[in-house]
Amino acid sequence: MSKSNFSRRGVLKTGAIAGAGLALPTYLSAASHTGYTNAPTGSTVKFGFNVPQTGPYAEEGLDELRAQELAVEHINGMGDGGLLNTFSEKNLQGDGILGKKVEFVTGDTQTKSDVARASAQSMIQKDGCVMINGGSSSGVAIAVQGLCQDAGVIFMAGLTHSNDTTGKDKKANGFRHFFNGYMSGAALGPVLEKEYGNERQAYHLTADYTWGWTQQESIAASTEALGWTTTQNVLTPVGAGDFSSYIAPILNSGADTLILNHYGGDMVNSLTQAIQFGLKDKQVNGKDFTIIVPLYSELMAAGAGSNIQGVFGSMNWNWQLQDAGTKAFTKSFGEKYGFPPSGAAHTCYVQTLLYADAVTRAGTFNPCGVAEALEDFDFDGMGNGPTSYRGSDHQCFKDVLVMKGADNPTNAFDTLEIVEVTPRAQVEYPVDHPMFAGGDLGACNPGA
């Protein structure tokens, strides 16, 4: 049946060929060192914008993409210049970066780590990008940040709110402008105390991944400090769609406050269903039932409609702020797209400009030079007031907004109102805070 004809000659020949094949890569790997990954050689430099265009966070992702496109226009000198006019650094002249015009490629992360990494790999290996910008899910942001660290390019995180992104999963090549769960908790605490007192029973519904976990931990810690009790924390899968089976048990749990650690399409669904179940009209323990959404965005507010009236939450930035930077950005975004930008759009836009500026200050696209220029960098005029990038964990520190669903919105875009601008000092924390401990920034990696 099976014929075996291994002759000595055959084995030797095959062995020699296989050996040569194995040895070839060793010989080849010795060559090619350009100093750092994807050093731009021509008259252009390429950015990769890696955002979710499908899945539960697609709305945020598409808005990020609009802002990133706008940022590239402004860096290349088209349009009205947007935040370049109010930014405290004046290195960018509208002629690209270090004389090179900026081009970009886009990718769809589908809010899945594997897909996001495949897309980022293609940006780095095929398109030759020197910087990846994007996010909209902390799980994805952490995965892509790790990839960029290994590949030797800079990752400018977009919308990622988990403590871990600059906590236990921080990386030397990754930078985050957005705020995080701890800051949300610290900012919301005093406002909630003023509004709802010190005796509340909180029931948490939490998205089951790094962002949900760390935000829940942060909010529970800050509300428990007020004297509230955490009745229960239920983890829900991301993109579940139907949350009714998670909401029904709340009615009998004895809790008088529901904290929704959900984001994007998930938050729209869970909030709408909670209201359909009549939670907001209930009285428990002699108090009106309340709902809190710690992380807000305009896109979620628009999706949830009138359901968000009176619901508290926090934001990184909102277009209704009155400083010059906010006004300039809202104007140029509004003129191009016909509606005000979301907080996700703002953070991606700012991150792209910050990267461009850091390159001009460093005089090189080398990730190590750029990282050095960004570390402990203080700036202003980007809509958040005075801001600084902490060198020890690559987290930005700035004021945090506490928001509330407007009672009488006049149009589709002012559904949220600013309750308080929490000063930066109140949301700061030491780099070795227990919620952020355990990580290691490592050394910057220029790749190649």
């Binding site: 095959t14 790997s29 780590s113 495949a118 290996q125 995965a143 899968p237 990580g439 290691d440 490592g442």
Partner: protein, 402 residues
């Protein structure tokens, strides 16, 4: 040669050439040209996926192609393989050898257990059982249930498992590479050959995986042509009759299931070796479905079909999904504006995030017109040129290889 008949040996050489020359074959257009920017697929990350998913589907084909048992949970073995490999990186060092060995073993153990239970039923019930097991494993990994019960992080839930600087890595010396490597040969180091407008990238990791693909393909030919392969085919044509003749088919079935599970584990281990991070989403049922689609698209029960199917789907997923409207406008720039706009409007639903639609149409066309998959298409084209000596050719194709 190598214990293969002439026809199989030619096929084997073809796969070797395809695998080793992939950096050239997949970069047909100059890098900076519009066609090159859109259609070139010869970058390491994608080439790795071509060969790794090729291995996975070759293994799947040993089960589905030979015995006709449709496993709808194969991605679960891929997933456990990846988790095993990343754990080896975390505990020992970045050397890929222990990682790949363990991933094959762990996937083998899981497939023995699942196969033992699932193979008690056949047909649709078998498919549903494998699907149920795979979804169970997915849920356990996604919520990290096993880890929570044992009191540590086993799969790290949605975030996925990755290697941290403070992991034990007991075999790591001070000078050891900090990326996956084969006794010092780093997987991600590469050599770029710029010639003319082309640039060809030769990466260690790709060639490492390609050698596994070649070995996996060779093993699969040997299994197809072995007495056991014949037994498996007999089970496919009539399992009941086999039992009545007094043959216990169970051990053969289980062996096929475990072999294909180990192939999946190897693919999972290689995925982790190329990119040391893994997550539960790799085990989701859509991933299992994708494997089935790859096998059917290429040609179930054929030797080279799985490799073709895996390649086409990964190509569509990574290349077609990145084409957007502004790229289309560039292509049609020479046409009058109205025609340009009409063409872009027509093509728009099929590109970018609409690549699933393109894949669906292709799949339908293959299933309707070429039930034997793309391999059948290739044979039909071949016959057109060989019609003269039909008698010989048709006979040669139908005679069993034994």
């Amino acid at each position: 040669m190598l214990g293969l008949n002439t026809r199989d040996f030619k096929l084997f050489i073809l796969v070797c050439v395809l695998a080793l020359a992939a950096p050239f074959l997949l970069n047909p257009f100059p890098t900076a040209s519009a066609l090159g920017e859109s259609f070139n697929a010869g970058y390491p990350a994608l080439m790795q996926r071509f060969v790794i998913f090729g291995i996975l589907v070759i293994g799947f084909n040993i089960l589905f192609g030979l015995t006709g048992f449709l496993s709808f949970g194969h991605a679960a073995f891929l997933g456990v393989g990846s988790f095993a490999a990343v754990w080896m990186f975390k505990l020992l060092s970045y050397n890929v050898v222990p990682a790949i060995i363990l991933s094959v073993i762990v996937a083998g153990i899981f497939s023995v257990v699942i196969g033992y239970v699932a193979l008690r039923r056949s047909g649709i019930y078998f498919s549903i059982l494998t699907l149920a097991f795979a979804q169970m494993m997915y849920s356990i990994a996604f919520s990290d249930l096993a880890g929570k019960m044992m009191g540590f992080t086993l799969t790290n839930g949605e975030t996925g498992l990755q290697v941290y600087n403070d992991d034990p890595q007991i075999l790591m010396g001070p000078d050891s590479p900090t990326t996956p490597h084969f006794f010092g040969l780093e997987m991600n180091s590469q050599f770029t050959w710029d010639i003319g407008g082309w640039s060809f990238v030769f990466q260690n990791g790709y060639y490492f995986s390609a050698l596994f693909l070649i070995a996996a393909f060779y093993l699969s030919i040997r299994i197809f042509r072995s007495p056991m392969g014949l037994m498996l085919r007999a089970i496919k044509s009539n399992q009941t009759r086999m039992s009545y003749t007094g043959i216990n088919t169970k051990p053969y079935m289980l062996a096929a299931f475990v072999i294909s599970g180990m192939y999946a584990g190897l693919a999972g281990g290689l995925l982790a070796a190329m990119d040391p991070l893994t997550g539960a989403e790799r085990m989701f049922w859509t991933a299992s479905g994708e494997i089935v689609v790859m096998a059917i698209l290429g040609g179930v029960g054929t030797l080279i079909g799985p490799v073709l199917g895996a390649g086409i789907i990964k190509y569509l997923e990574n290349i077609v999904s990145k084409i957007n409207d502004s790229i289309l406008h560039q292509w049609f720039a020479i046409m009058p504006d109205w025609l340009d706009n009409v063409l872009v409007t027509i093509i728009h639903p099929f590109i970018g995030k609409g690549w699933h639609l393109t894949l669906g149409l292709l799949f339908m066309a293959v299933v309707i017109f070429l039930p034997g998959g793309l391999v059948q298409g290739g044979e039909k084209i071949g016959e057109l040129f060989r019609r003269k000596k039909t008698d010989d050719a048709a006979d040669g194709a139908k005679t069993p290889a034994e």
